[in-house]
């Protein structure tokens, strides 16, 4: 390969039992979609602080929003397995703009509880509009008082006639500024996980207000604090039964973790690509950066961690495809992946030197995203604890 060419991490993949032609077909079309419709706009959307609604339409037409969702609601699920999913998250992660995937795909956490335990009427009313890119749905679990301990949420919904009356607030809500709907966890009963319900809140209801939160990274994603002041929500918007919401919340987690892990592998590969491309072109002390042993070791360490993580990821995806739910391993996988992307972001930044500190490149963006991956969707501490519990320790 030409020294001056950009390094492509695909070159590191060897033979694999996991991928067939349909996976590669999808990955190649997705790559082309991202290259044409998203990558040229990253800087613009990062500055704007949010994604244009038109992108949701474009992504819906391409099939990305409906990817994996039931056909009867406008999705595409036939013939799709965990490896198509894994490649989707990995390719999106590779753009090095995690906020785009997070915000464009917020329905990936907002919709599954509805599809899992919601009424048929609600599914018909909400899912097609979301999958068509006409409506944006977000998920509201975390509160100002905390996110890790989901069972401890405080925001209340009290039944009054045919409506629930909601008071309280939600914090750090992805797509929260633009959302039309919020799948919201609320306290309807006693303390603990058995007193929680899920309500679908229409965000134009009187008494809902929101504030934009400025963040370290994920600038393309609008993140909000949302306040409820005597918001009336029709009883019919209850998702599942009263006080049965916790199961709906839990429903998200395993799929989300696999997806986040794949996204982190993609981000780590992006860092590796930038680092190798740079190290082969840059000269210091009379030779290529890539010829200094310290730098070669950095690169090999990055590859080592990426390969270990990807192997674990693919094995987990294979097990999920067999119908297993390896909860402990998925929790450990998420930690493995977030640590790997954090490591690679650091090492790539070192290799790029000052250039890594200048706005507008993948390494710089990913470096500012490693925290949210390690905290959101189940923090590293919580994941490790969960795994230990699952293992009966």
């Amino acid at each position: 390969m030409n020294e001056m060419e950009d390094f492509n991490a695909d070159m590191l993949d060897g033979l694999s039992p996991f991928y067939n032609d349909s996976h590669i077909l999808w990955r190649n079309q997705l790559r082309r979609f991202l290259a044409q419709e998203i990558i040229p706009n990253i800087e613009e959307w990062e500055s704007a602080g949010e994604l244009p609604r038109s992108l949701h339409k474009t992504a819906a037409e391409f099939g990305l929003l409906g990817f994996g969702y039931p056909e009867e609601y406008g999705g595409t699920s036939k013939g799709i397995d965990p490896f198509h999913r894994l490649l989707t998250s990995m390719e999106m992660g590779r753009m090095g703009a995690g906020g785009i995937g997070a915000s464009l795909m917020t329905h990936g956490i907002g919709l599954p509880p509805i599809l899992a335990i919601g009424s048929e009427e609600m599914k018909q009313r909400i899912a097609p509009a979301v999958l068509a890119g006409d409506k944006i749905i977000a998920l509201g679990i975390t509160e100002p008082s905390g996110g890790s301990d989901v069972a401890a949420i405080k925001t209340r919904a009290v039944l009054d006639g045919d409506d629930y009356v909601v008071n309280g607030s939600k914090m750090f809500i992805t797509s929260g500024m633009r959302a039309d709907y919020l799948t919201c966890a609320l306290r309807t009963g006693d303390s603990g996980s058995s007193g929680i319900s899920l309500l679908l809140i229409e965000m134009d209801s009187p008494g809902v207000s929101r504030t934009r939160l400025e963040k370290m990274g994920w600038h393309s994603s609008d993140t909000a604090a949302i306040y409820f002041d005597d918001v009336r929500v029709p009883k019919g918007n209850l998702i599942g039964g009263e006080n049965q919401g916790f199961a709906g919340v839990m429903h998200n987690f395993n799929g989300e973790r696999l997806g986040m892990a794949a996204g982190c592998v993609g981000a780590a590969k992006a860092c590796l690509e930038e680092a190798i491309t740079w190290a082969r072109q840059r000269e210091t002390f009379g030779k290529r950066l890539a010829d200094h042993q310290v730098i070669r070791h950095k690169i090999s360490e990055m590859v080592r961690k990426i390969k270990a993580t990807q192997s674990f990821l693919e094995l987990c995806a294979w097990r999920v495809n067999q119908g297993e739910t390896p909860a402990a391993d998925l929790a450990l996988l998420k930690v493995q992946a977030t640590r790997t992307s954090e490591f690679c972001a650091r090492e790539a930044a070192q290799i790029l030197g000052g250039a890594s500190f200048i706005r507008g490149n993948r390494v710089e963006r990913i470096y500012r995203e490693v925290r949210v991956n390690a905290i959101g969707g189940g923090s590293e501490e919580i994941m490790l604890d969960l795994a230990a519990r699952q293992m009966g320790i």
Binding site: D13, L15, D21, I24, L25, F33
Partner: protein
Amino acid sequence: MKILVPVKRVIDYNVKARVKADNTGIDLANVKMSMNPFDEIAVEEALQKKESGEAEEVIAVSIGPSQCQETLRTALAMGADRAILIEEDSDVEPLVVAKLLKAVVDEEQPGLVILGKQAIDDDSNQTGQMLAALLGWPQGTFASEVKLAGDKVEVTREVDGGLETVALNLPAIVTTDLRLNEPRYATLPNIMKAKKKPLDTKTVGDYGVDVTPRLTTLYVAEPAKREAGIIVESVEELVQKLKDEAGVI
């Protein structure tokens, strides 16, 4: 007018090919495979002609093992109307492919056949030319622009040092170069709908073509590793090295 677009399933363009341990060929087991990039350009060009109303039907054809169905599905997902798979598990050489394609052309009577200028696996760059010869049709190879005008097609070709435009009488053969167009992405719904489009499966026997290889591969090896360059101190040293080591003067 019908346009016929042959598409080949090749090792994915991002994969680093590995030579088999016994040096008899490239290891393809469990390797990511996808449509030859030049053929995607050919499909795109055919679709554009259909969308502009200059063609009525786009037919994709592939020759190879049953997995080529997936390659044909890509063409169908992009927008081709139907597909033909000529199933053959052995390696087919350009001449065999050209003969099979001629048989398909005889049957389908397309006004234009658009092929990739070469496949990125063996880089033969022969099939389009051989097909033109077998059919006795004019050919416009390495196209960077293809314009239909009545019963003619104008093909702008990328040649050394510039562009050459040739006018060919239809029916004709065109082979695509990289700059002809940017292929569209197939949407997921279209990828799924493609599964319902007609795909005929044939065998080489149906066309009475002899697939016996005429070429023998003696040895396949990795390209030689490029050695690091050196800086010479003087013109004399350069001349001496060119003479003694490189043996070029």
